[in-house]
Amino acid sequence: MEEIMSVTFPLESGLLTTVRLTTGGVCSLAGLDLDDSEDCKLCVTESLLVLLRNGFSRARLAFSLQGGLSVQICGESAGAPSAEEGQDELSLALLGALVKDLVMEREGDVVCKIAFRFGA
């Protein structure tokens, strides 16, 4: 699997625009169409929000080319999950609706890694 780039950053809302722009740029490099690029950006931000609600204060976002664009988002620096009930359910349903092969890893009840693929 050819990793195009990876970036580790604090999970702060002020950085989400930067992450979306980065994701948009990578999608463009990977040749994704406009719809897929927009969906990919949405899925990345949604995944980051899931990790944030699951108590992580940092995340590692990695993009690879493998039959399209593969995206992996891992939580780092774990803390206490927030008590926003139902929010994760909505985010996960949205992710499930937008990507075909969503993979989610949990440690106990905590979601710690989300991976999906776009294109091809």
Partner: protein
């Protein structure tokens, strides 16, 4: 009252008041999902309206006896409707126009800031001046040279033709049809773009998505053109047979 009880009651009575109660309870999902798709060239209010209609349809279709939570059921339903809306409307009409308009404003704002401050503006400054997100500015900047495929060409020889009509295609791509006189005759009535689509879809057996990618158009366009081409061929072949 519990959700399952409300749904059971609605299924039995079809009472609109009960349906409205359920819809009101889940309106927040329509709002949340509509917000997620903002920034793609369609106003929030339009997206919210689409999401609300999908929510009402979802309430009609939901079967609580299958044990699924309504929120889990309705999220992909609303998302699907919003995406269909984008497919049908925004890609072909709103987005290119919006980007084109933004590019014009961008140039104007850029010149204004330069003359006021003596410095070239940052993306942030432009976003603030034009009341759009930084992302939209970057996207508009990247969209340089974008023209509508429906725009009429400026070349004299191609007067009255649009860019779709003059997209390049491989002239040798239809060899396999050479011995089929009737089809060839019908195919001759197609323009270059239609022939390219025919070749990609039926000779090379590419998917609509791949065809769209190679031609730099949307999958919806390929789908519509395909229907149009087949109808055209069908009409021509029927006419030939009648002759």
């Amino acid at each position: 009252m519990e959700d399952s009880e409300l749904f059971r009651q609605y299924r039995e009575t079809k009472d609109v008041a009960v349906r409205n109660k359920i819809v009101e309870k889940y309106l927040y999902i329509a709002a949340v999902l509509a917000k997620k798709f903002v920034g793609r060239g369609v106003e929030y209010d339009d997206l919210y309206q689409v999401a609300c209609l999908a929510l009402i349809k979802g309430v009609e279709r939901f079967d609580e006896s299958k044990g699924l939570k309504f929120s889990t059921f309705i999220t992909p339903t609303i998302t699907g409707e919003i995406k269909n809306y984008f497919r049908d409307r925004s890609r072909l009409i709103h987005l290119p126009r919006r980007v084109a308009e933004l590019r014009v404003s961008l140039k104007k704002a850029s010149d204004e800031i330069l003359s006021q401050t003596g410095k070239k503006p940052t993306v942030k400054q432009l976003a603030e001046r034009l009341h759009v997100s930084e992302e939209e500015i970057v996207r508009a900047m990247e969209a340089g040279g974008v023209v509508s495929l429906d725009r009429t060409t400026e070349k004299e020889d191609d007067e009255g033709m649009n860019f779709y009509d003059i997209l390049a295609s491989d002239d040798g791509a239809l060899e396999s049809f050479e011995n089929r006189d009737a089809i060839m005759s019908a195919v001759k009535g197609l323009n270059e773009t239609e022939r390219t689509i025919l070749d990609y879809r039926f000779r090379q057996e590419l998917s609509q998505t791949e065809t769209a990618r190679r031609m730099g158009v949307s999958q919806m366009y390929v789908s519509r053109m395909e229907r149009k081409i087949l109808e055209k061929l069908r009409t021509q072949l029927s006419k030939d047979m009648a002759d």
